[in-house]
């Protein structure tokens, strides 16, 4: 089940519709189910077969409809034809092979020169996207279309639909970030944080959602330090709460470390106190947690560097040994190296003092 509603936005994107039949560039004739070579309006085009070497290498035995569409596509690329029927040919080619970057590139040329309504094209690409969520070409094509209408399409909707199936889809997150950066809707920062919260309430280990929270933070204006400090403190408490419920969740620990490394400020002292108190409390029940201990190791070391006070990292010596010898042995070489580095830093500081 989905979590609570996102303020200011519909709880859920309207279900995506596959467009009614009809392809951009469709000819008056009924073409449903026909091959291109059966369409009279194309009879003057000589299809170009795939060029192959004498001994074919990585040859693919395509279906008839694939060969048909691509042969006509090659023919119009060669002649440089710009027409509605050329657009129809790219529709066929895009449907049989949505990953064909050459097809989409030529199609964009046609769309621009023929001044095709981008809204109609958005519907077309959406229909293909619904079955091909992991495809660089489709998302890029959609991005170009949305840009051509000045971002007047809330692209959060289509990515919401994608995340219903795959909440970590890299292409969709990339598209969403592009949209939010380029055409930021009013109050998107608040809405986006709420959306991430919803995703995390469904799966607290969804690292993409944590990363998106960081994206929101990185785009939050910092001209009022007090306000920003409040937002950061809320993030800190949120993260500690999530970690308390699931201390083995690496995403949360990475985020916590990111919070204090990416945003130094007047709140530093308070952060240090809050984090160390929380970790000490958690340690009482999770003393053997590799995640908690690894976090604490880096935490003391990071703060020693931040404060210019090497002695702060003293507890890291024992923690590194515990990780190396008992609880995180697959990274034993790393912990051994870090142990030596911390010991050396402490010794050097002692000599200077």
């Amino acid at each position: 089940m989905r979590g609570g509603p996102v303020p200011g936005r519909a709880v859920r994107a309207p279900p995506l519709q596959r467009p009614a039949s009809g392809l951009p560039g469709q000819l008056p004739a009924e073409i449903e189910g026909k091959l291109l070579c059966e369409i009279p309006e194309l009879s003057d085009i000589t299809p170009l077969p795939q060029l192959e070497t004498e001994t074919p290498v990585v040859k693919i035995l395509h279906s008839d409809s694939f060969d048909d569409a691509l042969s006509y596509f090659r023919a119009i690329v060669q002649s440089g034809e710009v027409s509605m029927r050329a657009l129809l040919i790219t529709s066929y080619a895009a449907i049989v092979c949505p990953s064909h970057y050459s097809v989409w590139q030529y199609r964009r040329k046609l769309l621009a020169q023929l001044k095709v309504d981008p809204h109609r094209e958005i519907e077309f690409v959406q229909a293909i996207l619904l079955d091909n969520w992991k495809n660089y070409q489709l998302w890029y094509h959609r991005q170009q279309l949305v840009a051509s209408i000045g971002g007047r399409s809330d692209e959060r909707d289509i990515t919401d639909s994608c995340f219903e199936h795959d909440a970590k889809n890299y292409h969709a997150w990339s598209h969403r970030q592009w949209f939010l950066r380029t055409y930021p809707p009013p109050s998107w920062l608040v809405e986006e944080r709420a959306y991430c919260d919803r995703l995390l309430s469904e799966d607290v280990r969804n690292n993409s959602a944590w990363n998106q929270r960081m994206f929101v933070l990185l785009h939050t204006p910092r001209d009022h330090p007090e306000e920003f400090g409040q937002i950061l403190t809320a993030e800190l408490n949120y993260t500690l709460e999530k970690l308390n419920a699931a201390p083995s969740n690496e995403s949360g620990w990475n985020y916590l470390r990111g919070l204090y490394t990416k945003f130094p400020g007047p709140w530093d002292a308070g952060f240090f106190a809050t984090i160390s108190a929380s970790c000490d409390a958690l340690l009482l029940r999770e003393s053997q947690s590799p995640h908690l201990n690894a976090f604490m190791f880096h935490f003391y070391r990071d703060w020693a560097a931040r404060q210019g006070d090497v002695s702060i990292m003293a507890p890291s010596v024992t923690i590194a040994k515990l990780l190396r010898d008992e609880i995180d042995t697959i990274r034993a070489k790393y912990w051994d190296m870090m142990h030596e580095r911390v010991v050396a830093a402490l010794a050097a500081a002692a000599t200077t003092a």
Binding site: W139, N206, K333
Partner: protein, 458 residues
């Protein structure tokens, strides 16, 4: 394990999609390891970290040659139609896997002819004959041609001479964006793959110029996230494949020092799974054999820097005795050989429940090579940009990047495997150059050949 290390605990009692998927994979992996131990009469208990000796896995490459050859020369069914724009990639996966497994007697001339036909008249290579030029098949074509250029097969470096460097350079320049990234093709998406593919091809073929590199290093550095790894673009999530692209792109121009090395090192190490032994690609995702290379090579590329930081902060003696490739080599090899290798099919799978394929065979073997290597990449804690443009000599940091240590006096990492009933050292494989992912000797020959031609753009 998993054979050698204890699994990390999952404290959560709740069931979330991530946790359910992870537990399912863990159960399967654990039972495979347990079966492997029983089969070899071992007293070790999988997942216990009890330190009992682990038997050598079987690695029989007898069927690999047929698998790689069929992948290139037997026509594929229409189920593979979606790969129509990626055919040059398939020649790379197969020839690189072959080069590492010492299987090289393919019909190299036909492969070369296919790539020649895929070269675009305006520069670069398309995924197949007649296609628009794209950076991925361009890298694949160049790397394949470098791998194929063997004496006794070709004369006068014929495969390398077919690359039209001047049009390639003009095309690469036309893909540059004002932000410092590269589009993967004209009117195509820009991400850190583009940076790696463009810079590595330019460096290999000796057409790198300050103009081509301008802004690229800074843009790649912006892709490093709060987690320490790199994302496809600034703001996105850290990811093993993109991290490799960014780090290797910087390594090939001597600029790894532009990144936060400590954060990157720990992030890459965190991707190695305690129970499985293999790497995952992102935090809280599943293990997958291709990340053996993507993440493993990142750690190999950092090895020289790791050692020099150790020397600077502790002592020369500690630094010289450490293993600067910090991941658990044996556990990674356990995962690849016990869980992913399909001896009857002659290739690797991404995880035990999957089917083998050429892509995972290539990147598993490349990962094996990295896990087995002993050479350091020279330290790049400072920027070494001027060196990147030497038009005559191969920059030193491009050369000895992972190998069997021949001539360096280093002791190769020992990991015995059973091949045709006999225990042998993994040295039955060749090594890869971790920056270009091309077999090491072929890579050096390619770099030297293009230096001998000079840089036509400088």
């Amino acid at each position: 394990m998993a054979l050698r290390n204890k699994a990390l605990p999952c404290d959560d009692l709740s069931s979330t999609p991530t946790l359910n998927a992870q537990r399912k994979v863990e159960e399967e992996i654990l039972s495979n390891y347990q079966a492997f131990l029983q089969q070899h009469g071992s007293s070790a208990e999988a997942g216990s970290g009890d330190g009992a000796p682990i038997p050598a896995p079987t690695f029989d490459v007898s069927n690999m040659k047929a698998f790689l050859r069929n992948s290139m020369f037997r026509p594929m069914s229409s189920a593979f139609s979606s790969l129509d724009g990626s055919r040059a990639w398939i020649t790379f996966w197969c020839t690189q896997a072959g080069a590492l497994a010492n299987i090289t007697n393919f019909d190299a001339r036909s492969i070369m002819d296919f790539l020649r036909l895929s070269q675009h008249p305006d520069g670069g290579f398309g995924g197949g004959p007649g296609l628009l030029a794209h950076l991925a098949p361009t890298y694949a074509a160049v790397a394949t041609l470098v791998n194929l250029n063997r004496e006794g097969v070709f004369e006068d470096d014929e495969p390398l001479r077919l690359i039209d460097r001047e049009s390639l350079y003009r095309w690469l320049m036309s893909l540059k964006t004002p932000e410092g990234s590269f589009a993967v093709h004209h009117d195509g998406e820009c991400d850190v793959r583009g940076s790696y593919l463009a810079l590595s091809v330019a460096q290999m073929t000796n057409i790198l110029t300050p103009e081509l590199l301008e802004g690229a290093v800074d843009w790649i550095a912006q892709c490093q996230t709060y987690e320490g790894g790199l994302a496809g673009r600034p703001g996105l999530e850290a990811h093993g494949g993109y991290t490799y692209c960014g780090v290797a792109a910087l390594a090939c121009v001597g600029a790894i020092g532009a990144l936060d090395i400590d954060a990157l090192t720990y992030w890459a190490l965190q991707r190695q799974m305690s129970l499985e032994g293999g790497f995952q690609g992102r935090t809280n995702k599943l293990v997958d054999s291709c990340y053996s290379f993507w993440c493993g090579a990142v750690l190999a590329l950092l090895s020289g820097t790791t050692r020099s930081v150790m020397a600077a902060e502790t002592s020369a003696s500690l630094a010289s005795h450490m293993d600067p490739i910090l991941f658990d080599r044996a556990s990674l090899l356990d995962y690849l050989f016990v869980q992913c290798y399909d001896a009857s099919g002659g290739g690797f799978k991404d995880k035990p429940s999957s089917r083998l394929d050429a892509y995972h065979t290539c990147y598993s073997l490349s990962g094996v090579s990295v896990a087995h290597s002993v050479d350091d990449l020279p330290s790049q804690s400072g920027l070494e940009r001027p060196l990147a443009f030497d038009p005559v000599k191969v920059p030193p940091f491009l050369q000895h990047v992972t190998g069997d240590g021949a001539g360096t006096g280093a002791t190769p990492f020992k990991y015995p495997v059973i091949y045709r009933g006999r225990s042998r050292d993994l040295a039955l494989l060749s090594s890869t150059n971790a920056i270009f992912n091309i077999e090491r000797n072929q890579c050096r020959k390619g770099l030297e050949f293009f230096r001998s031609l000079g840089n036509p753009m400088m």
